[in-house]
């Protein structure tokens, strides 16, 4: 798997905020928490790992901010750097799923795959 590199400073401007459903918020929270657990448990503390962990932490912070929109939806404003990092994390998360998982996790994967596709859109 390719490694994630922070995007150049000039590309750090905020992108169009994503509006996530409650289901997408929960799936993304699970993925980011899972990534943090795995990275702490299995990866040596390199500068690159630490940058990815800080990014996951930052996006989690935005997801967990109080006062969601009606219906549990949430606006997720991301910098270009965060968007690139999130794409990388979601791809890494998908790559780790080597076999079908029992429900409801399978559903979370489908939700995340759709979210990943949205992040790829121009």
């Amino acid at each position: 798997m390719s490694t994630w590199k922070s995007v150049p400073r000039r590309a750090m401007a905020a992108t169009e905020p994503l509006v996530l459903t409650a289901e997408q918020v929960e799936a993304l929270q699970r993925a980011l928490q899972g990534y943090r657990q795995e990275a702490f448990a299995r990866e040596l503390p390199t500068a690159e790992r630490n940058a990815r962990l800080r990014l996951a932490q930052s996006v989690l912070g935005k997801l967990l901010e109080p006062s969601p929109l009606p219906g549990g939806r949430r606006t997720l404003p991301l910098t270009a750097d965060e968007q690139a990092g999130l794409r990388w994390l979601l791809a890494a998360f998908r790559a780790q799923q080597t076999r079908p998982a029992p429900d409801p996790r399978t559903d979370w994967l489908a939700v995340l795959a759709a979210l990943e596709q949205r992040l790829e859109e121009p």
Binding site: L44, P45, G61, E65
Partner: protein
Amino acid sequence: MALLRTLFGHRRARSASASPTPAAPGGARSHVQRHYLTGVPYLLPKDPLEDQRLNYQHHALYRTLSNHYLAPLSPEGLRTILDVGTGTGIWAVELQALFPDARIVGVDVSLQSLPQPLPPPCVFVRANVLEGLPFPDGQFSYTHQRLLVAAIPARSWPEVVRELVRVTAPDGWIELLEISDVIQPAGPATRRLFDWIASISRSLGFEMEVVRHLGELLTQAGCVDVVQQDIPVPLGRWAGTAGQLLLTDVLHGLSTLKDSYCARTDTPPEVFDEMLREAAQEWEQQQARYLFHAAYGRRPGR
């Protein structure tokens, strides 16, 4: 007071307040004169050498844990931050750089370790969390406490965590981070060293078991969105720079216990040095990891 007598029973207390006094509990045989606080149950020295170690530890933790905090903070919601057991104040100062718009307050039983002049705009207050914090309810949007297992007797933990939650604002985060007594994998020398340390700590009222339940303590204190994370941090040169940093910190940290623990048990310091040396060899050979326990949770919203 019974606990204090137990803790410092072999030492002449010079003051009832948290001020430093020379010599290790028990009158240790050491060529380096260490200073300890009196009037508070704190097992580690309080002197420039220890301050240096604490600052070093701060940088080692940043390299190994990726950040100065683990809670999923959002800068927009951070107005006030509390650091309990601030020590040299280095965490508070660096958080101020990360969150320049936040008001950061550090508390400690002794402010003697703070740099002079005090770094503005951080505010430091002398207070003992074991006796309650001098702040109104719901004052802080983020409350942080780490590495106080040698300062908080086991039976006081639930009350301390409730106090941290009390001063935190609704929807604010409370974070706890502690080092454990678990090294994985642990060979016989490592087990021998840690069993010895644990038995003395236990006799003084300090129980490492409690740090395995930080998440439960937050939940019992009413927090929601609680996450407990056990972090096995690589320990030793085998793990590169970060592993080396943590190794140096752990070796110095354990050595700070040496004087007082050896004196209490009539153990020659050379025996301790040998135990530590053998354990450190195992850490390299077995690519060991030192387990940290972290937990964070949120005070329920209004």
